[in-house]
Symmetry: D2
Subunit: 227 residues, 4 copies
Amino acid sequence: MSRIRTPVVIINFKTYPQATGENAVVLAKTCEAVSKEFNVPIVVAPQISDLYRVSQVVDIPVFSQHMDPGEQGRFTGHVLGEALVEAGCSGTLLNHSENRMQLADVEMAVTKARKLNLYTVVCTNNPNVSVAASTMKPDSVAVEPPELIGTGISVSQAQPEVIRGTVELIRDVNKDVVILCGAGISNGDDVSAAMKLGSQGVLLASAVAKSDKPGAVLRSLTHPLRK
Amino acid sequence: MSRIRTPVVIINFKTYPQATGENAVVLAKTCEAVSKEFNVPIVVAPQISDLYRVSQVVDIPVFSQHMDPGEQGRFTGHVLGEALVEAGCSGTLLNHSENRMQLADVEMAVTKARKLNLYTVVCTNNPNVSVAASTMKPDSVAVEPPELIGTGISVSQAQPEVIRGTVELIRDVNKDVVILCGAGISNGDDVSAAMKLGSQGVLLASAVAKSDKPGAVLRSLTHPLRK
Amino acid sequence: MSRIRTPVVIINFKTYPQATGENAVVLAKTCEAVSKEFNVPIVVAPQISDLYRVSQVVDIPVFSQHMDPGEQGRFTGHVLGEALVEAGCSGTLLNHSENRMQLADVEMAVTKARKLNLYTVVCTNNPNVSVAASTMKPDSVAVEPPELIGTGISVSQAQPEVIRGTVELIRDVNKDVVILCGAGISNGDDVSAAMKLGSQGVLLASAVAKSDKPGAVLRSLTHPLRK
Amino acid sequence: MSRIRTPVVIINFKTYPQATGENAVVLAKTCEAVSKEFNVPIVVAPQISDLYRVSQVVDIPVFSQHMDPGEQGRFTGHVLGEALVEAGCSGTLLNHSENRMQLADVEMAVTKARKLNLYTVVCTNNPNVSVAASTMKPDSVAVEPPELIGTGISVSQAQPEVIRGTVELIRDVNKDVVILCGAGISNGDDVSAAMKLGSQGVLLASAVAKSDKPGAVLRSLTHPLRK
């Protein structure tokens, strides 16, 4: 797996109209511009139907929002790793709180992604689940208390113990996994707080994907991460 | 909805490696060539991540293999109608036997697709379910006995009563819906049999998508449909 | 199927602590007492693990809150019709908004229940879905706008057009199915309104199952239904 | 949690007709008789609707085949821990291969069961998933390669490395969890082999629940476990 440099910012485009189709392309280009201007790794995660379109025009990592486990063949409507590679993806979110996966399927998808050299970010809802996910050896785990997602109340400021507890518990079982946090991250202070608690990056969505000034938000978010 | 002329042939690319990424583009072009040569409507249904790529290079209808119900916004990894429109789709399969949907979600997706001018094909497993689906007023219903899918044993020859029964029962509640059949369709004789039983087209996958001579198979399949 | 006399009141015990275990037995006996006192059919739907316990001590119909489709054998944790019969059930709710089922599974479960002589109540969320469900020939359809469930705002008073529309549309395709309504029903006025709109009974939960005086609530609810 | 003595034999009744309703009671009594005769702990896991009926007449542990996560209240058809306690259960299987649960739900259910003093057996499909499950601190993990379930080909003889690998990997993260194995266990030799590989008991279904001589099968199975 070509590792991604940390600290990293991952932008989940979700299914916001401001981040769909041609808008996804424009937003991804804005992310790319800020990433290059400040030399901070930014990853974009557009909708599955936009992956090819976006990956063709930006030179930053493009991740899928989801990947199904399973081998190529008799599946209809499923999103397999091989198709993600063909679409220009270099990684995928897994088990997002809006797209929870079965325990066995998370493990199967992580294992499959590793074979395909796709970077995996397993989303989790609390420290215990983060530890369980870490034992499956994904590239990264992103803890996001579901009750804060989309609220603008940041996990790093409102529930610092979640991040601190997650980092401590994970390191007992996995020294290497990249630990991210998400939920409610909307400005540089949230990012700073997350970094101080041991997070190696952030996963966020609405603050950027719904903004009418995403470039300004990205500048604020990445400020504490610049060298 | 811009109606699709019948009889129609819909090719589900599933997740076969021969129909993924660049291979999906090549296969779609073969479908387009046969469609134009013989003036028979052929619809292609590639994987979601290939929709944009395919729709940019062919001039035949491109359908999604699946669409989730729901409005744009806070969904991650979901496939919404607006994104399909942006990706160049003009329709979608729904409730395929490999991707069954909840009763309420089928209705919500059909209603949403209608607003977006997306053609809907609701897949069903028997005559009773076909009738239930028809009352939701999709553009088309495709009955496919799951036990025959991928077998090469065609529904039209092995279970003619399924098609005949479906046609009769549906017409009591819906005069307009286009009735298709699928499962095991692999040559012109299967298509002829389906047409005689009242089907207005066929939905198939492996016979074309796994073939090393898809053009030849398509020529055979469309032979009984030429004017 | 031994038909259930209408108008009928069905009490869904959900998983309320006041309606679990020994409390379920006490509540079912209260329902039985009111049913006999006023000669109004009342059906109780306790949790699956309470079905046997309740059915042994009351002489009114006991329904399950859910039933899975499928034949006896290799299923773990599933709730099959044969087990419901053994537990003393005479019917089941299907597709409750808190336990939505796939389109094909609703049809399979209705068909299986009919063979086992179990009365079926398919829950639906709007008039269109009610029509689709009616074509599967269950004994009853219960329309419940999900946004009103548990609110105390009754469908019959807040959304009369939902009940009226459901009744009209269903009768085009099924003359016999018993049409119920639910969501927010909490007193006799709500029941009266439902009856006037063409409903043949009501399905409700919290107003009775969470009440500390369920007998009084049942007396109010059944008042308009007494002969 | 009142611990269960090991080695232990858990009999999953699944939904076999021979283990439903009154038959479940008879089979549970046979299990009880063998358990007492040879002083080997045997746990029975009947269908949810049979739990109360069985727990009232036997004096061995009765487990549920499944438990949903979540708090009491607005759920319909769900199986909550409090209801299991009321039904006389002292534990539950979770995440059986025929009833897979989401990663976050497994953790939530294990945590809830612990509060209710219910013994948890998390079923897993391979060594990696077993380790992930073990970090959630259930009482027990039962590894069962799904492809062997119901075959009569025992995991302990056909895939010894699965058991050995599971034991080794789990002990790195959890010293206390009881490690069981299942799939294809049908006689005393299978049990002996499992014990030698480090298993502390077995989980099985068809060999007992479908047998017309379950007592004889249980005597064979428990032979290697007698003191």
